[in-house]
Symmetry: D2
Subunit: 420 residues, 4 copies
């Protein structure tokens, strides 16, 4: 345990973004008597990390930690979620949820190494993220103390609106960027960006064209399709090729960044939904998940070719929805999170092969797929023209056995119908 300055309430490691809110929180925590260390995770968001470092030091952070977590985000969270075809409420690809575990884990790690008794974050008291961060903190460091200023009355009553934060910033010498606040809030990482709140709170307001940041509008995307091929091994993407521009990438992180690039320029990955927060409130969110959208389509397609029917059905019914809920609700570091993480690869052993895709104005179309190692698909057996694999008479027996139960039911059911 590192030493604590006399008179201090102890050290707190603040998840710092460089923005107005967490800058005010940093200064306010110091006012409360804490020594504040700032922590900024690079999960692929667009950000001037060095400027953020300087700002944190300028306004009083005793130390600043900037950590590149992009590779572990992609390898440990994004790819398993692709393997699981993870999704929340049929539509949301869980972009924000996927980044939280890697951010919180590193924060706890630094806090322990620096002897911080507390961790802090700038999430609101109505959202999912407070839950995701804090459940991760509690699971990974059961004795750590959490400070969530937006749930502390003396904080949120002091800063009821943005103007109060601006006044505080001016008074305390916190630099404020000159750009006007956008009428929505965002959260960005390598996998996605989210837009919510502000004008989006009316679910019937169409998001303005200039809101979307990662992808071009499908209407503005190229008039000529692009074509790529993605290869998978055990359900993980291991290679992307594009014959036109000579792309051939195998590094997991680079591969994902490339998929983002082609998806963005072809307008792929926008969604707009009303979802149910863990906290029980409905909220509207818009998301862009460019590379992830392509990857999901390719993975699902390949599974058709190489995955056994019952393994697929098991995964679809007993793994996909459970994993989606675990991620969304912030239960990644939990007994059930660990269990599902161990189950996913058991379902992916045969997911080996390649998928050819066409990308065009917001659409991702599968144009073909093959596998060099798997043989569950059998052209002769499948063929309607070839007698092969089994006798037609077998189908008759199959059908008749299936019908035993139905005939019994039918006799009764038909009688009931007639009586009505």
């Amino acid at each position: 345990m590192a030493s604590v300055a006399p008179g201090s309430k102890g050290k707190v490691l603040l998840a710092y973004s460089g923005g107005l809110d967490t800058s005010c929180i940093l200064v306010w925590l110091k006012e409360q008597g804490y020594e504040v260390l700032a922590y900024l995770a690079n999960v692929g968001q667009e950000e001037d990390f060095e400027a953020a470092r300087e700002k944190a030091l300028k306004i009083g952070a005793s130390k600043v930690f900037i950590e590149d977590l992009r590779r572990e985000l992609v390898e440990e969270l994004v790819y398993p979620s692709i393997q699981a075809n993870a999704i929340y409420e049929n539509v949301y690809l869980l972009g924000t949820s996927l980044a939280r575990p890697v951010i919180a884990r590193k924060q706890v790690e630094i806090a322990q190494q620096e002897g911080c008794s507390h961790v802090a974050h700038g999430c609101t008291g109505k959202g999912n993220d407070q839950v995701r961060f804090e459940l991760a903190y509690h699971a990974l460091a059961p004795s750590i103390q959490v400070i969530a200023p937006w749930r502390i009355p003396e904080f949120y009553q002091r800063f009821p609106g943005r103007q109060h934060l601006l006044d505080y910033a001016e008074k305390m010498g916190i630099p404020v960027s000159q750009t006007r606040a956008k009428p929505w809030s965002t959260d960005e990482n390598l996998f996605h960006i989210s837009y919510e709140a502000g004008i989006l709170e009316d679910p019937n307001v169409t998001p303005p064209k200039d809101m979307w940041k990662l992808t071009v509008d499908p209407e503005d995307a190229p008039n000529t399709p692009e074509r790529i091929t993605i290869s998978f091994k055990a359900g993980n993407p291991v290679r992307v090729t594009n014959d036109v521009d000579g792309t051939d990438i195998t590094d997991p992180l680079d591969l994902f960044i490339y998929l983002n690039t082609v998806a963005r320029r072809n307008g792929i990955g926008r969604i707009d939904i009303v979802e149910n927060r863990f906290i029980g409130i409905k909220s509207r969110g818009c998301y862009e998940t460019p590379g992830g959208t392509i990857l999901r389509i390719a993975h699902i397609d390949l599974e058709g070719l190489v995955l056994d029917r019952e393994i697929r059905a098991y995964r679809d019914e007993h793994v996909t929805p459970v994993f989606g809920r675990i991620l969304y609700n912030g239960m990644y570091f939990s007994p059930e999170g660990q269990l599902i993480n161990n189950i996913i690869p058991l379902t992916q052993k045969t997911v080996n092969g390649s998928v050819r895709l066409k990308l065009y104005k917001g659409t991702t179309t599968v144009e073909g797929r093959w596998s060099e190692t798997e043989s569950l698909y059998d052209m002769d057996e499948s063929s309607m023209d070839v007698q092969g694999g089994f006798e037609p008479l077998d189908s008759q027996g199959f059908i008749r056995i299936q019908s035993i139960r139905l005939k019994k039911w039918g006799s009764t059911f038909n009688q009931q119908q007639q009586q009505q």
Copy 2:
């Protein structure tokens, strides 16, 4: 029971398409000593029904029944499948499966009314459709006899290839259309068309551009988006409007036909997959489901706004996959089919509202949604800017209670990690 001609094996009602296969079957059944009645269901496929009627009579059908089942297909099968967000293996919207129950039910009904002891169909012995038809026959008329020539050795050995059917047709005076057979087979109804077999049996062959029949190629679709609004009541579409062309439709069948029209011209609803047949074989299928694709997107979106989280989760995990499998496997007329059909509407009571959609080159984008009657979405409660609905402190208690279990696990888990 109607009388049977002396010397006859009895009457058989054949599901007749007007094509080469079922025409040969019709004649062959007569050869075997049956009186053959022909039955042709209009489920919305492109077909010259009167020509088919004449052909059937010409080649020896004692009676011909042509039945317009489009409305019951849409109202009894398509709309419940939209309510359930029914899907098979993440991708297939079950278009062929949905038509089978209405076709088989009417066939059984006519067979009983005409005193037929047998029903017959022209499905192959390797596919799903034989199962779907026959399980329906057995459930609805447990004592009816089924003739499936493609599973009878003396039939399929006599006609091992298309040329043998052509020879037989020539010999027996069966008119054959001059159009060359396409190198794939199709099945069409109001909801969709399927393409399979032939050149498609190689899953890495890209379907030729001229295969797709219902929809334009997204690349050839208009450069200007179209916008429509769909309104739902209890999960069923009840109105479609298009302000530009003045469309305003409320009749269930007309509404669906209109959705098909706009979807087709905007290139919406193509898929290409490898799927797992009930029979245990993998097969490749291409499908177009124009209106159904739009409707599904709109319905899922509206549910976000108006459906309770737990009802949605229950339906997604306990109804959607079960209903998909029931339909795909031909178990619609079964105890479980009846049960699920009764459960679906229980989940849709609050699915009332409207969705605004943009259709553009293969994409369907939600641009907004609202409900005049439902109030689960609450702008104030949802707002990040407004304190409303509950105290921030409540979230703290919620998180802490959730973390009790995780802290216990974390203590143990962290010890294990350190020991490793």
Copy 3:
């Protein structure tokens, strides 16, 4: 809204048991400035209700409501839970959970009728019951205020132990029964009694013989078995007969009371478990559910005879565990509670018939079952000695079709095994 006395904080309807805790709470609430009305639900527990009424009035309740809820407990909660074979964590028959909805519903009803702005209960802050009561209050009367003294610091800090309550009772003139407190706490209703806390908190302590109250020790039960027959209609018990003593009961409440009587004297229905509370804590509980245990066994048995396989599987996998969790977690009055309640009867239409049972020293043995109306069980078809219902060759086709997928897997799997 009824009038409130001047100077009063308003009226509160307290769920009152007549015991030390809720008597102190009643007096304390008056001290806080509330007008207190007492409410005591008769859900079948052993209790001197008139004494409790007098005591409540004596210590200051402005009104007392004693409500016989036994019939609605049995008809609305117990029987549906039997239909659903409801159970929690494989063992617990949910006895306490089942009574909470009827108690809370009536409390809210009286509170509204009497113009109470508040309801109060005496549950601790660590258990399930606070959750069950309050979620029911919130669902049924979203604007009602809840007072839970055991979660209010000024209350629980003032009464940190039983002696402090006794001192307060003496000081405030609250009559205290002379019987010494038992070293465990109980909750009783017509369906069951629970024992927990105190000496039971060590999960390796065997409950003392004199703890069990409802049932005789199996070792002390009669040496001669008793035999009864239970008849069900649509999954509900509609008749119990006992040929020896001439019993023949059809009234739902009387029937259940009789089942309790015979079960109790034969030592049936004791369990002892460690369970997981909703709140995330493990706790140990002992329970007696005499009649419910018999009824559950009979109902499950009858379903074997008369329920379709797939309906049963659906109910077992998609209804039973969901309903168990809903009840245990206090979510009975919720969208999902309402949904499941509507699904249960859909699964029970054919559960008509009778079961003969032997009761003996803690065991319930099925000795036979029959149905006069249902015909899914077919002796000829079932017979190993009779060729009936289908051709043996059909089984062969059935097996061969099932094996297509397995053969493919086997080929690959066996190769892998050999390579290892």
Copy 4:
């Protein structure tokens, strides 16, 4: 591939029991021109194996293989089924199903080693066992040929009843035991015995007292309870002790045999059900599973103490029913069988501890349980008397957050109620 005698149709390895049916089949197969090798698995059934060997050789088997598979049955099938709490239709512990995989696997192994082109069995064409054996054969040896005489018309038409087999035996010199056939058929292994067919086909016939073979009638069991302690490691039983008789067993096979011994003498493990066969027919079966019944109760109890709530719920809802169906339907050797087998141990890591049990006249009562290594149960936290682990106020927040959704629903629901 071993050589085949000239003129022979090849070698067939027959699953041989020594009884009338498989003896006649052996001779009949020779008549058909096969060389017949006999295979008899010792899975713990009561049998004179040497007499069976001699009989097989006497009637013409070219080789006889008698294999002791008891250890693999217990270690590979029984214990995983205990870990999974495997059960079929709420009641049946899957005794017959558990033995089939080990029997079939060894049969295939010997067939391959001896160069047999065929395997044969004596199962009927209406039961589950034909499916279980053959699916295992097909999965493990996709190219092996199966002979199932009871599905071959020339066999079953020649032997329509038992007397025809007896006549054939007399004619062919097959020794027949003098004991009269019982009016039911049985299947026995170390885990259980089944009784079905014959007089049991009437589901309302109470099984005669002398049918039950493994266990004493509870009424005849000792009047004094026995007490044992079972210890588990990772969900597997690793030790059984009985302080009275000094028992202390750790060998997995011996341990199970001992549990059988004490269960049998205390009348534990009888059931009588109507179940749904895979083939779609309902059938009535009586079973004795003495040791397995005790083990299941102990395992379930221990899980309460040491297994995380969500792991338990996942296993109960997503593993137990799936594994039960896989076993029952004979899909053990399948992709999904392999998957579930790999999932089960992931759920059992913390199932370490001991359970004290009382055995008495058919009942198994848990009297206490403890764990030396696991700490999820926390007496202080659980205690109602101790403030520990969390603030009562946290529960309030937890409840309030849960109620947000319910209040919304309640407002609407209550309005609807009033309108009705």
